[in-house]
């Protein structure tokens, strides 16, 4: 059994750690409140851009354009370069938050060789991890995930769209964490570019509406949500069903609208994803710190019981020693007399 001094030392160190976790808990709960407010404010816009692009895609005629996956070169290109924008946190201590995003990104690039993909990592934790583990990371893409702003979203969007237009990337996917409610978070993948063509949307929608049991591939993927980049979302299904075939005019021209749409959608999506991630991160950290504090309390409880037991044992021992000593002295005196 450990001595009282050792136990006392441990109790003190746990108490110190608890102070830190408690402070971090308070801080992330404050930040979470701010992030939740922001999330609420930006939700109409985030959903609006997704609905907007779905509606417009439903009305776009079949054209060849770089923003669609039907460029002339596509048929000749054997190798596709994929870009992944991965959202992680700037700091650790957030439970499984960072790990989930990293794991999903790793899964995505697992079967690709180095020149087939490039990672664009937002947040310090992910960047350090991918760099240290020898992944192909764009080193000039340095953005923090703390306090999302429209400006940063715009910078990211312009950077990525420029790469896409220069044909250095053929696909751009985003890996981000969505906050479903205050306890569950989900890591999702979403393809931002190229856009889905009208023809593709129509085929998928037809497949879903035709099978009543919901067992087809497209319907299953729709139900599973955002895990697949090829499947169509519920917004797109709705848009197609609401008279997708009727063509309508674009002002001033199809091309300008398409350009604007892509930029708006991209920026809006990145901003929305950043806000979602920020909220998820703080939420994850808050929960992690909550459980850390709880654990510390449980350990302290056990330790204090052990401490008392050891102290009592020590006292008992001392008393027996004193009594034993006294008895021995008494005996000595008696025998002398």
């Amino acid at each position: 059994m450990a001595s009282t001094k050792e136990i006392q030392k441990r109790i003190n160190s746990i108490q110190d750690t608890m102070k830190i976790t408690r402070a971090m808990y308070m801080m992330s709960s404050m930040k979470l409140r701010k992030a939740k407010q922001k999330l609420e404010d930006t939700e109409p816009f985030f959903i609006g851009t997704q609905v907007g692009i779905a509606e417009n895609l439903a009305h776009f005629p079949d054209i060849r354009h770089i923003y669609f996956d039907n460029r002339i070169e596509d048929e000749q290109e054997v190798k596709k370069r994929r870009g992944f924008i991965v959202f992680t946190g700037d700091k650790g201590m957030a439970g499984a938050y960072n790990h989930n995003a990293i794991k999903l990104a790793e899964e995505r690039v697992a079967n690709l060789s180095r020149d087939e993909y490039q990672l664009f990592v937002v947040g310090e934790v992910g960047r350090a991890y991918f760099k240290n583990n020898g992944y192909n990371v764009d080193e000039s893409f340095v953005f923090s995930s703390n306090n999302p702003s429209m400006h940063r979203a715009r910078l990211i969007a312009e950077y990525m769209i420029d790469l896409y237009n220069r044909e250095e990337l053929d696909h751009i996917d985003v890996i981000y964490t969505k906050m479903l409610n205050s306890v569950t978070e989900e890591t999702c993948v979403e393809r931002l570019l190229p856009l889905k063509t009208h023809k593709f949307l129509k085929e998928q929608a037809k497949e879903i509406t035709e099978d009543v049991e919901g067992t087809s591939k497209a319907a299953l993927e729709l139900k599973e949500g955002t895990k697949h980049v090829h499947s169509i979302s519920s917004y797109e299904l709705e848009a197609i069903q609401n008279g997708g075939d009727s063509w309508y005019p674009f002002y001033p021209s199809l091309k300008t609208v398409l350009e604007k749409l892509v930029h708006n959608h991209f920026t809006g999506f990145i901003y929305g994803a950043m806000v979602e991630c920020f909220a998820s991160e703080e939420n994850a950290r808050m929960m992690a710190m909550q459980s850390a504090t709880d654990n510390a309390e449980a350990i302290l409880h056990e330790l204090s019981i052990e401490f008392n037991r050891v102290r009592q044992a020590q006292i008992t021992q001392e008393i027996t020693e004193v009594i034993g000593g006294a008895k021995a002295l008494k005996k000595k005196k008696k025998s002398k007399r």
């Binding site: 404010d41 816009f45 609006g48 715009r154 309508y248 300008t256 609208v257 604007k260 708006n264």
Partner: protein, 137 residues
């Protein structure tokens, strides 16, 4: 009075307006455009600048908008999706002035094409804000 239609303006940080209006005027690529009830279904580009719409009580509401998209639906309702949309009295002139100067300074430096476009857009936004705010006074 012309009939009213539903107008929704969504900015990145809030729903700016969600209600009835008589006429909506916004800056298009080649000049201002107006939308009234029963407009043709279409999607168009909104440039950085000032939009105004007539409320049901006949008064005009002005707002400074950054670039976005406008969509008219078959039932006549209209939606604008833009990065930001502010009332003239909400604009922080000081901040806008600062942003304008910053953008100007950046424009003078040698920049990559992306940076140039971002500064250009920043400048347009700052100027639109200042213009909107100064008209009120």
């Amino acid at each position: 009075m012309a009939s009213l239609f539903h107008l929704k303006i969504v900015a990145c940080d809030r729903v700016f307006y969600d209600g009835e209006t008589e006429i909506l005027i916004f800056p298009g690529v080649d000049g201002e455009m107006a939308i009234m009830n029963h407009h043709e279904v279409f999607t168009g580009v909104v440039e950085v600048g000032e939009i105004r719409f007539k409320l049901s009580d006949g008064s005009w509401q002005h707002a400074i908008i950054s670039d976005g998209l406008v969509t008219v639906y078959p039932d006549g309702s209209t939606k604008i999706l833009a990065y930001s949309c502010e009332k003239p009295e909400e604009i922080d002139t000081f901040r806008a002035q600062e942003a304008l100067e910053r953008a100007r300074e950046q424009m003078q430096q040698k920049q990559s094409r992306i940076e140039y476009e971002i500064s250009n857009a920043n400048m347009a936004r700052a100027m639109a804000r200042l213009k909107g705010a100064s008209q009120r006074k």
